[in-house]
Subunit: 433 residues, 2 copies
C-alpha cells in the first residue's frame, strides 16, 4: 500500500498558504475540547488553550500489509512512517535516523529483582546522541522542514540541546539553542560541538523559557521552529515509536507492564497513545497492560498527586540528581495520573541514593550504563515490586532513556577495587587469585 | 543452509580435551609460516612465534542462500555468524550484540571536502559502550565461553575496559580489568561502573601488560580469558564485521576507498581480510579498492615507515590527544604497510590541532560527535585529498570508531557563541535575529 499523503492548506512560517505533506496526519486536535485546526506550527487550542495533538487517518490500512511494510522498513523509527506525521519518503531525507534501539532481555536483573515473567530494558542510550530525545527531535525536524522553517531551536539544560544541535547539523538547518549561562562546562561542550548558535541566558531555566515564548511571538522569531514549543505536537509524537518498537521487538505483542520516567509526562502519554493505536490497527492483540510512572523523590509532583488521590498536580521546586527529569510543573501530569489509574498502574518515586544504587545494579547485571533517568526507572521498578504494586510474574519493560556518560558525576564514587604492584605476589596478597 | 559446526578436540583452560563449537572456524593458522594448530586459547605460533589467525571452511556455502540468511538475521554482528568463529546459535546467548551501526551518507562533509563520488561515515559510536571495541570483545567472549573460561580480562587505558566490563556483566562472567593506577578519574568511573574487579597497577601501561603476560603463564591465571592476549585470534576477527556491514549497507558493493585508524593495526588488517572473504564468497563483485591508514602525528610509527618506504616499523613514544590510537609499537604495522601498498592506498598522519579541527568539522556537518580517533580519520581524509592521494571522485568510507563523550577534553575550548539578557533587545544587540 502506498503511504497516504494529505495535502492541507496551512499557514507557513512566512504566512503564505502552502500544501503540507505530513503523511497520515490530517489535522491538529485539542486534547481537551476536540476542536480541530489545520496542520501548522501551533501548539495550544484557540478555543480552550488545551494542548493540540496530531489527528491521523489510518482507515485505509490493511493490517497485514501494514505489518509487512513496517518489517521491510529501515532499522530506525522511519519503519513506522505510515503511523507518524512525516512524508512517506522521510527515510531519504537527511536526519539522524534514531530508533530501533536494543530491547534487552534482562535475565540477570530479573533474577536480582525476583521477576519471573520476563524483564526487558528498552535501552535508548543507543540513539545517535545517546538519549530518547533524538526520536522527538527527528519528528520536529520533519515538521520544521514541512513548514519552511530554517532555524531549529529549543531551550534546554542537557540532552535536548545536543539532539537539536546534531539533527540541525545533519539536515542543514541553522540551530540556535538557549541555555542558562552558568551551565556546567561539560554540558556546554556537548551542546556546542555541533557548531550551531549556543546562547547563554543570564537567568535561570524559567527565564530561558519565558524568553523563548517571547521570541516566538516576535518578528525576530520568524522562520524559527522551537522543537518543544511551536513544534510540540509533532515533537511529542516521536515517543510513540518507543511503544511501536517494544511491541514489534516482543514479536508484535503488548507487554503486561511498562515502567516509564516522568519529566513533562509527555513520553508516558504518547507511549500509551502508541499502544492504543497498535491495538486499533490490529497489529497487536488487545489485552490489559499497566503503565507505571517513575520520578525522583526530589522532583515528584506526579507521584505525590497520585498517592494523595488528586487529579491535579501541585508544582515542586526540583532538587535531585536526575536533572533530565527535573520538571517541577509537568504539563502532562494530569494525563499521566489518568493513564496510571485507568490501566491499573501507579506512580512511584525514589531517592537520589536509590537512583545511584539502581544505576550500579543495572550496570553490573546487564552491562548497561544508564543516565540518572534510567536509575529512576530501575529503582522504581524495584520499589514497586517490594510494595506489591508491580507483579513480578508478568512481562515487564523498563525504559532507559539516556546514557551514563552524560551524568558521570552521579557515580563518581565508583573506583578501583584494588591497587597492586605489578607482580604475582602482590596480586595474590590482594585476594584476586 | 544450516550453519557448519566444527567439533575440534582442543585443550580447554583446565587442560581437559573438550569439543569446541565455533561455527565455521576449523583451526588456528600462523600468518607467517602457515603452521596449523587446533582451536584453543593460544595466540603465537609454536614454530615461528608469528601471530595465529582463524582459518575457516566456507566451502559449503551457496552465495545466494548465504546472502538471504544474512539479510534475514538480527540487526547486529550475529547476522554474519556463518562467517565468524562463533556457534550458529550465538544470537540466543547473552552478549552485548553490537554492530549494524549507521553508515551515514555524509553529503555535507563531502561538499566541504570536495568529494563528489559519495562519502560515508561508518559510525561505531552507536555500539553499546560506544566504541568499535564492543565488536571484538563480543567475539572474545564467545571464545571464552567455548573454552570454559570464567573470568574475562584485559589490560586497558580506556575503551576496552568498559567494553570488557559491560560484556562480562551481561554474560555472567567475572571480569578483572587491569589499568595503570593513576588513570584520570572519569575513565576509572566508566570502567568501574559495571561492577567487576578493576585493579590499578603501580606502574605505567607497559608494566600492566608485562604483568598480564606473567599472569597468563601462572596457575593463578587459570580460567582467565584475556581478550587481547590469549583470546586475540578470536577477538581480532570482530573487526571483519566492519567490512561486512559497510559492503552490505552499500547494497553488497565494495567501496572504492576506505580510511581506517591505526592503533595496533589489527582493525585495518581484518577489514582487508573481511573484504577479501566477501569477494571470494561472491557476495560482492570483485574490483580494486584502496585502504588508507590514519595515525596521529604524535604516534605515527606506521605513517613514518610508509613514507620512508620501509617494511619494518620503528617504535615511537606516543604523545598525542588520540589516546585510543597511542600504540607506539603496533604489532600489525608491517601488515598494514603491505595492505596500503598492495591496494594502492597510503598511510598518513595529522597533528593534534588538525584532529580537533576535524572533530568539529564532522560534528557541524553531520551531527556526529567523534572521539579523537574519528578526528584522526576525518583529518587524514582531508589531508589525503589535499595531497592528491585520495581520489574525491570515488566512493569513500571513513571510520569513526568511538564517541566524543569519552574524549570531551579534546574540544573543551568549545563554548557559548553569545551570552545575553533574557529579552529581545539583548537578543537583537547580539546580532542573533
Amino acid at each position: 500500500m502506498a503511504a497516504q499523503t494529505v495535502a492541507t492548506g496551512t499557514p507557513t512560517a512566512d504566512g503564505a498558504a502552502k500544501s503540507v505533506d505530513l503523511g497520515p496526519a490530517t489535522a491538529l486536535s485539542c486534547r481537551e475540547c476536540g476542536h480541530r485546526v489545520p496542520l501548522g506550527p501551533v501548539f495550544a487550542c484557540e478555543e480552550c488553550f488545551g494542548p493540540l495533538e496530531i489527528a491521523y487517518d489510518y482507515s485505509a490500512y490493511d493490517t497485514e500489509e501494514l505489518r509487512k511494510r513496517i518489517e521491510a522498513g529501515p532499522a530506525n523509527i522511519w519503519r513506522y512512517a505510515p503511523l507518524l506525521p512525516v512524508p512517506a519518503d522521510v527515510a531519504t531525507k537527511p536526519n539522524l535516523n534514531p530508533g530501533w534501539t536494543h530491547l534487552v532481555k534482562a535475565d540477570n536483573l530479573a533474577r536480582e529483582l525476583g521477576v519471573t515473567g520476563g524483564l526487558y530494558v528498552k535501552d535508548d542510550s543507543g540513539n545517535p546522541t545517546h538519549s530518547f530525545k533524538d526520536r522527538v527531535v527527528a519528528q520536529a525536524l520533519e515538521a520544521a522542514r514541512a513548514f519552511g522553517f530554517t532555524t531549529l531551536s529549543c531551550s534546554s539544560t542537557g540532552n535536548l540541546a545536543g539532539a537539536v544541535g546534531a539533527a540541525a547539523a545533519r539536515a542543514g538547518f541553522r540551530s540556535c539553542v538557549f541555555i542558562p549561562h552558568d551551565l556546567e562546562q561539560g554540558k556546554v561542550v556537548m551542546a556546542a560541538v555541533y557548531g550551531g548558535e549556543l546562547v547563554g541566558i543570564e537567568g535561570n531555566y524559567d527565564d530561558v523559557n519565558r524568553f523563548c515564548s517571547e521570541l516566538i511571538g516576535d518578528p525576530a522569531g520568524e522562520g524559527w521552529g522551537f522543537v518543544n514549543v511551536n513544534l510540540r505536537p509533532y515533537y511529542a509524537e516521536g515517543s510513540k515509536t518507543l511503544a511501536y518498537e517494544i511491541c514489534e521487538q516482543l514479536g508484535w505483542r503488548l507487554p503486561d507492564q511498562l515502567v516509564v520516567p516522568i519529566a513533562s509526562g509527555s513520553q508516558l502519554t504518547k507511549i500509551d497513545k502508541g499502544l492504543q493505536e497498535l491495538i486499533r490497527l490490529g497489529l497487536v492483540e488487545d489485552k490489559p497492560y499497566k503503565i507505571f510512572g517513575a520520578q525522583a523523590e526530589g522532583c515528584s509532583p506526579v507521584s505525590v498527586a497520585y498517592k494523595a488521590g488528586h487529579d491535579v498536580v501541585r508544582p515542586q521546586k526540583p532538587d535531585t540528581i536526575a536533572k533530565s527529569l527535573a520538571i517541577g510543573n509537568p504539563a502532562d501530569g494530569p494525563y499521566v495520573l489518568d493513564i496510571a489509574r485507568r490501566t491499573g498502574g501507579a506512580v512511584e518515586d525514589v531517592t537520589d541514593e536509590q537512583i545511584v544504587d539502581a544505576i550500579k545494579l543495572l550496570a553490573r547485571t546487564e552491562g548497561i550504563f544508564a543516565e540518572t533517568a534510567g536509575g529512576v526507572t530501575v529503582g522504581v521498578t524495584k520499589k514497586l515490586i517490594e510494595n506489591g504494586l508491580l507483579d513480578p510474574a508478568l512481562t515487564t519493560v523498563v525504559l532507559n532513556t539516556g546514557d551514563g556518560l552524560k551524568t558521570l558525576d552521579a557515580v563518581a564514587g565508583t573506583g578501583l577495587t584494588a591497587t597492586i604492584r605489578p607482580n604475582l605476589d602482590s596480586f595474590r596478597d590482594a585476594g584476586l587469585a
